[in-house]
């Protein structure tokens, strides 16, 4: 059985944001999503950071996991989400998070990591979203 640790590689960037990389060909289900959320909370402590999620190699994500990451009906564990995409599949999934499964915090999709980091670090999400 896969666990969130084998699906996500999550850490705190010293510049002040969480980074979570999705493993190649990962198929994310609700358990993985919940474990990832717990991990983010554990790393964050009392601070609520923005998160950069690298889903470039993702293969699939279940409806339940998408709903969980949308954070509806629960206190958000992050202040903004930057999604890093590249493959056609990751773009499709990213667009679900911008539309049907839109999280309650500002969320944006990037193909360029530097731009994603700039958006998170410069607080641009607070200004525009």
């Amino acid at each position: 059985m896969t666990t969130a640790d084998s699906i996500f590689e999550t850490s705190l960037d010293p510049r002040g944001f969480i980074i979570s990389r999705v493993a190649p060909l990962a198929e994310i289900n609700l358990d993985h999503a919940k474990e990832n959320t717990a991990k983010v909370r554990e790393i964050s402590g009392d601070v609520v950071y923005p998160i950069l999620v690298d889903i470039r190699k993702i293969r699939s994500i279940s409806k339940e996991a998408r709903d969980h990451f949308a954070m509806r009906g629960r206190k958000p564990g992050v202040v903004a989400i930057a999604m890093l995409v590249s493959s056609p599949l990751s773009r499709i999934i990213g667009n679900f998070f911008l539309g049907l499964n839109q999280p309650v915090v500002p969320t944006r999709m990037f193909t360029d990591r530097d731009q994603a980091e700039r958006w998170i670090l410069n607080g641009k999400h607070e200004e525009h979203d």
Binding site: L25, K57, R59, S60, I61, S62, K63, R66, S87, P88, L89, R91, I92, I93, F96, L100
Partner: protein, 307 residues
């Protein structure tokens, strides 16, 4: 080798990307190039067939979703290409559609239940008024209770028709007109052998939304009750006609009788009759035009665009 053969050989080698080795005869290089091109061609043919199979598999899923069958899911290849993206997108849209359909069904059940309960509650109120009117000795007050009882019953019937309707968004008003008129004939006609009720309703269904159905229902209720109550005093005989005519743009509800007619000085704007005041107010509410013909009896024509 002729010039043409040499040109073809050179082109073949160029397309294949094969390099001529030192000292290698050009014909040997051409043989290697041909093998590469042939292998590439076969791979391309296989990919074409495989892509067609994958796309067909996704189309199967789309067709299943179109018939609200959520059991099929599109598979993925190892390549994470655009077809895999399509498969992933279709699978996810299917999941969302499934959830939306379930929510919609739950809401429909809930709405049906609400209309059912509203109807039941209105019927209880109507019955209570009816029971209470039995304890009232003053005839005028008892009549007022009876009228209120009918008004509430008319509204309850709208909710009854609504929860029985297919999509809960409106009622077939022609069907409603028949049911209400028959109901009033049973409850308000003082003597059915003396006052005959004719009902003529267009068979083609006219869907009326709730916000128009309630006013229309109350207007019909008032006009028919008014006819039974006032058009045939004493032992006078006659008939009341209820017509509902569907038009392409405007529908007509006509309630007429061949009774004594309205008083000569009757003015709808300044009438003391609460029932007819209600008819005026409700007609304005649904932007309907109300015409009264006071000749050979009374004829009320309500024209509205309600759908």
């Amino acid at each position: 080798m002729t010039k043409l053969a040499l040109d073809v050989t050179s082109a073949l080698i160029r397309i294949s990307g094969v390099k001529q080795l030192d000292g290698e005869d050009i014909e040997d290089t051409a043989v290697r190039a041909l093998a590469v091109v042939e292998e590439r061609f076969q791979r391309s043919e296989f990919e074409k067939k495989d892509n067609a199979r994958r796309v067909n598999e996704i189309l199967d899923v789309v067709m299943s979703l179109a018939s609200l069958d959520y059991t099929k899911r599109a598979g993925f290849s190892e390549s994470s290409d655009h077809i895999d993206a399509l498969a992933g997108g279709v699978n996810m849209l299917g999941e969302e559609l499934k959830q939306s359909t379930i929510s919609l069904k739950e809401k429909e059940v809930l709405l049906r239940e609400i209309h059912h309960r509203v109807k039941n509650n209105l019927q209880i109120i109507s019955s209570l008024l009816n029971l209470q009117s039995g304890q009232i000795e003053d005839e005028r007050t008892r009549q007022q209770y009876a009228v209120s009882h009918e008004r509430i019953r008319a509204m309850a019937m709208v909710h009854e028709k609504l929860y029985e309707s297919k999509d809960l968004s409106g009622i077939d008003f022609g069907d409603y007109v028949s049911s209400l008129a028959h109901g009033l004939n049973l409850s308000c006609n003082p003597d059915p052998s003396r006052i005959r009720l004719n009902i003529d309703v267009d068979q083609a269904p006219v869907q009326l939304k709730l916000d128009a159905a309630i006013p229309c229902a109350l207007i019909l209720n008032e006009l028919v009750m008014n006819g039974f109550k006032h058009a045939f005093p004493g032992e006078r005989q006659g008939e009341i006609s209820v017509q509902f005519i569907r038009g392409t743009e405007i529908n007509q509800l006509i309630v007429s009788d061949n009774g004594i007619g309205l008083p000569m000085q009757f003015d709808l704007e300044n009438t003391n009759s609460l029932g007819l005041q209600l008819v005026t107010v409700l007609s304005e509410q649904i932007d309907a035009q109300l015409e009264i013909v006071n000749e050979g009896g009374t004829k009320f024509v309500l024209r509205c665009r309600c759908h």
